[in-house]
Each structure stands twice: as structure tokens, then as C-alpha cells.
Symmetry: C2
Subunit: 273 residues, 2 copies
């Protein structure tokens, strides 16, 4: 089985795209001609995927948006995931983290049954809480490191051994990465720290949320987040792509927004290639 990091690199090279589209579809923000129901969410997702799948290296589904659909949430999540072509990376953004026996169940559900290619996880409970996710080399695991929200300052910057806690997380992730499938979540809202994170982990995939609606600067996220080849940064775009238009042209507008963003990313990273 190809280790996740190698697969990600291949996909990014083949598609010439570092763009990840966040399918965080809020039923209350669907275009007005679609029903505000779980079926409407699925229809929306399928049309976004159909209109953009050649432009992105990955899609990220935040599980909160599917759990919010209640009884039908799992089915919409499953059907959306099945609609993604095998040529892109499907990321389950569930930020899991539990004791081993519970983590086994979460992993069975996300890795095996829903067959996501990658997951996001919380580091706080340590190695054994994450091992069920990273056991399979083909499955990528992005460990929360320095997040894009304001609350990141509450714990992640605390000094331990003279360094911020998130650097202690990086050191552990590097140690645990014997399957060549671990990565880090590092927010675009913290460009200087992102640069430092890339220097500490030159070859780990970085999942970078926070561009756009959350205020992160795209250019600096790309420059600071890529490795020396101009790869292994996954730049997540959420609301500014999927809600580019609230009208019947929403899919075409999403395609246009995704094209622009992919190209902007490539312009910035091109000197490094």
C-alpha cells in the first residue's frame, strides 16, 4: 500500500493543485432553489463535486455539519464521500481523540466503512488514542497542532521545555510517523508560526485551514506551508468557494472561485518548483 504522504504528493503533482475544498455544507445556507433538507445538502455537495473535482487535490468534510443533520446525517456523509472520485483525497475532519477501544470504533467507521483517505485528530490523549487511525499506512492522519481559532492561544502557545506546546506535538508526531502517513493541522491565520512549523517538519503534510472567511493570507500560507518542492501543503478553502454564489449558478460560481484559488496558489508556489 502506498503510504499516504507519497500518495498525496502524487495527487498534487498529477493535478497541479494544492487546493482542498471544504464541504462544510450548512443546510441553512443552501441556495434558495434547493430544499433545506438533508437531500438538499447532498444535491448541493454532488453538484459542487461535479463542478470542481478536476481542480482540487482534496475535499475535507467537517463531520459537525453532517451530525447536525440528525438521523440522515450518516447517509448524506456516506453518499457525499462515495461521490468523490478516487483520484482525490477525501478527508474526514472529525477531530477525534479517545481511549484506545473507542478510538478503534471511530477509526473503523471513518477509515474502513466510510473509507476516508485521511482524518483529523486531537493530540491531547497521546499516541494510543491515535494509533487506530495511523495504523494503516494508506490512511493519512492530521494531528491538530496550531489551530486557526482565537482559542489556540489558551494552551497551544504554553511554553514547555522552552518551546511552545505545539512544537512538542510536532516532535511527537515525527516520532510516531513510522508509517509515513502523519501530518499536522496548522492554521493559515498564523503565518510566522506556519513557517516555523514547516522548518521543524520539512516533509510532513500540512493541512492548512483558515484562508478566506477566517482571515488567513493565501500567499503567505502557500509560501510558508509548502515543502521545498512546493508540495505537501493542503490549502483548505471553505465558504468562499462553496458559497461563491447563492443562486442557481452556485456550482459554476464555485468552479470559478476554485479555479482562481488554485491558480493563485500555483502562482505563488511556482518559483519553488
Amino acid at each position: 500500500m502506498t503510504p499516504f504522504t507519497d500518495r498525496l504528493r502524487s495527487v498534487q503533482l498529477a493535478r497541479q493543485s494544492l487546493l482542498c475544498i471544504g464541504l462544510d455544507t450548512d443546510v441553512t445556507r443552501l441556495p434558495s432553489h434547493l430544499p433545506r433538507t438533508p437531500e438538499g445538502v447532498l444535491e448541493f455537495n454532488k453538484r459542487i463535486i461535479d463542478a470542481t473535482h478536476d481542480l482540487a487535490c482534496a475535499y475535507k468534510l467537517n463531520l459537525a455539519f453532517y451530525e447536525a443533520l440528525g438521523e440522515q446525517g450518516w447517509s448524506v456523509l456516506n453518499a457525499t464521500r462515495r461521490h468523490l472520485p478516487a483520484s482525490v483525497i477525501a478527508i474526514a475532519d472529525g477531530k477525534r481523540g479517545d481511549i484506545g477501544s473507542s478510538s478503534e470504533l471511530y477509526a473503523r467507521s471513518l477509515v474502513q466503512e466510510l473509507a476516508f483517505d485521511a482524518s483529523t485528530v486531537h493530540p491531547y490523549m497521546g499516541r494510543d488514542s491515535l494509533e487506530p487511525f495511523f495504523r494503516s499506512p494508506g490512511h493519512g492522519v492530521f494531528v491538530l497542532t496550531l489551530t486557526s481559532n482565537t482559542g489556540a492561544r489558551d494552551l497551544q502557545y504554553l511554553k514547555t521545555g522552552g518551546k511552545p506546546l505545539y512544537e512538542a506535538v510536532i516532535a511527537r508526531v515525527k516520532r510516531w510517523n513510522t508509517n509515513h502517513n502523519l501530518g499536522l493541522v496548522a492554521g493559515a491565520t498564523r503565518p510566522a508560526q506556519l513557517k516555523r512549523i514547516r522548518s521543524l517538519a520539512p516533509q510532513l503534510p500540512l493541512l492548512i485551514p483558515g484562508v478566506g472567511a477566517q482571515g488567513g493570507d493565501l500567499k503567505r500560507a502557500v509560501l510558508n506551508g509548502c515543502n521545498r518542492e512546493g508540495l505537501l501543503a493542503i490549502i483548505n478553502a471553505g465558504r468562499n468557494v462553496i458559497y461563491a454564489s447563492g443562486g442557481t449558478d452556485f456550482a459554476e460560481a464555485a468552479r470559478q472561485a476554485a479555479t482562481t484559488m488554485r491558480d493563485q496558489i500555483n502562482q505563488v508556489r511556482s518559483p519553488q518548483r
Copy 2:
């Protein structure tokens, strides 16, 4: 609205029980006469609840076990929660933690739609990631502090400002506790630290997993976890209660195991009352 901590205290006093029953029902471990299906899990849960609800102050449902049921998971979770009497505390053990907008959705689902009385959350992303859960004073929020698994050592013991990271978590939880509804998760597998945690947080509810299958000592968990009134420790018993028998007498056996455990807890805490 009664703040969660006051309600917990009232429930524990009225029922004279600190016992929490973990409904972490594994479809592969159902008694052989029940179907190994989501319906079987619900039937099992209902019979366990019917047989034990006068003995416990709380029930804790680890969401991993329900997510593992796939399409029917949400319905089984919802129906199990609805089957719990209003006189006990229903805890959603989902260990959530996400940026504000996603956390809002998780909270809407668990706090409002499923109407759980309390939730567990990860501290790593800080205050704004938890605020949607603790905004409502009636909803209890248990922040992971020192967990019962081996991986707890990877980050939670790291020294920051001369103290372990989990003490920094406690300091923040105390600061955020303006609604009188925050608590801590502290594993029974670490009795000395549990004593220290109680001394640092004399009036916070402590959710204490790890007794039984995970090896934690019940007596020390109770002595070290209770406040001066002999209250506000929630002692979770999982597998040793719900799987007390694998036969048709499983509910009666669970009742017997729960009675024994409630009484053992009360014997230990009685000198403090």
C-alpha cells in the same frame, strides 16, 4: 435555570449515588439471544436502563459506539437518550473540540436536539471551541484533563511553568467557569494525581472513568475524587456493569453489579458525609 453543578449535587444527594453507568454498547458483545443489530443495541440499552435507573446518578454514552452503527447510529443514540428518565444526568461522551462555527453545530446537536445534560470536550483548541457547549448554564461540560489511557503521558504531564499541562487546563477551566457548569475528566487509573486535581478544584464536578476494566482502584477513586461533602465525583462503570452476564439474565446481573458498586462507593464516602 439551575446551573449544572447544583443539579448534579441534588441528583447525587437525592439518589445517594455517585455511580455513572457507561452505555458503551458494543454490538459484537450483546448477549447471544439478542440480534447483533442496531435494534439489538437499543433493546439491550433499554433493558439495562430499566433495570438500573434507580441506582445511578448518571449514564454516559460514548458516541463512538453509536457512530459505529452507521446509518442507524443517530436513531439508536436518540432513542436511548429518550429512554433515560429525567431524574438522571445524561452525558454525551463525544470528546468534541472544533473551531467556533463547527463547535456550534456539535453543540446544537448534542445540547439542543439530543438534549443531553452534559458533554465531554477536548481542551486543546481553547475557550472559543468550548463556549457553545458551556454557554447554557444547565448543560455540564467535562473538559479532558488527565485521562485514563497510557497516552496521557505523551502531553498531559509536560511541564509548563513548573507544573504539568493538565494543571494548566484546570486553571483555565476554573477561570471559564462563570456559569457554574464546568467539570473535569480525570481518570481513576491515576489516584495520586486525582487527589491533587481535587485539591486544585475543590468544587468542580469530576467525571472519573477507568474503574474496573481499565484497572483503576474504586476506593481510591472515591476517596480522592469526592469533594468535602462526599459528592461531585461521578464514578463511571462501563463493561463490568453492562456485561456482568452474557446470558438472558444480563439486565438482572447488571442491576446486581450496579447495586454492589453503588454500595461500595457509598461505604467509602460515608465518613465524609
